[in-house]
Symmetry: C2
């Protein structure tokens, strides 16, 4: 299981059509794997610094596509290995996780049948959405879990579930950004608070 | 040739080992093409908004790898077509540009034998570097050209050339970020100045 860590930054990206079997081609992540390319880029932007990984970040990918949804795949920055920044690299590790099924497939990468409600239970939730409060002006709890949609956004049911769990809505800027781009802006804002705006 | 545009945001990424022939595999952009994957991700982060392209952005990729450096490939957001967000898509268009050689290969994508000195001549240069002034506090000229290195950074000669051309050094945050990640932070900062901090 995932180790207990005191302070951690978490991201959850919901892939509504992302395939839940390993039967896809790494040569066609957008088409053959239900826009898995989006999730692969999110893994990159959540975890990579120049020449090192963010060891205090966890990325959860909630795959809701055919044939066996849901599958939750977690990349734990503290333990992950064999990950390179290119899309195929993350795609290949996701494929291995789907082949292995429940448990740890490669170091730091875990799969389970968790649903959205279980994944968010008991967490400080932040829903990234263009109608939210400006992230630069917002208070952000430590150990927050940032939630993002894929190219389809979130469904009404998912939004209701977040609301019920008191998710705070934050916006990263005046444009509508891709999920992986939002993650960069969040990481940068939190980096600044930790290192440039010492309390 | 590239059309004249009044206000434009430009990025230049220097790929020191990026191949200057089309003889590489889209299945191995990092290995077979001299870290072309980095340049492909920079094209993505410079040009993509959710469900649209940034029409006021131009991305220049300066390829300095074997066998025939330099090759400058420009993606003009105002005219570019057939571009999807995944790495292979940008990689495939770069490959087409290298096959075609000088001129426009597909709409909005241009190749030429320009060198760094020619590309930066007469422009307001901003060199993104971790030792620079914080971008959030800096004055930024309109029509700036933001310059970034690949995984190798810039050479001493390149840095001297930028200095001679009065490049301003700006930093995007307290960590060392990948080039494509820096571009997101720049785009976000300029989006905010344009739309959220109206003068």
């Amino acid at each position: 299981m995932l180790p207990e860590v005191i302070e951690i930054r978490e991201f959850l990206i919901i892939g509504h059509r992302a395939l839940t079997s390993p039967d896809f081609s790494l040569n066609d992540l957008p088409g053959s794997a239900g826009r898995m390319d989006i999730l692969c880029r999110c893994v990159n932007t959540a975890l990579f610094l120049s020449h090192e990984l963010r060891r205090d970040v966890r990325v959860h990918l909630l795959l809701l596509g055919e044939p066996a949804p849901p599958v939750l795949i977690t990349f734990d920055g503290a333990a992950v290995k064999y990950l390179n920044p290119d899309e195929r690299s993350a795609g290949s590790l996701i494929q291995k996780a789907l082949t292995r099924g429940d448990g740890e497939s490669t170091p730091g990468i875990f799969a389970s049948k968790q649903r959205l409600a279980e994944t968010i239970a008991g967490k400080n939730l932040i829903y990234l959405h263009e109608d939210g409060e400006d992230i630069r002006k917002a208070e952000i709890d430590e150990n927050a879990l940032f939630i993002l949609g894929d190219h389809l956004g979130l469904t009404i049911e998912e939004e209701r579930l977040l609301e019920k769990n008191r998710a705070k809505k934050l916006s990263v800027g005046p444009e509508k950004y891709h999920a992986d781009h939002c993650i960069i802006i969040v990481n940068n804002e939190l980096d600044r608070r930790g290192k440039w705006k010492l309390k």
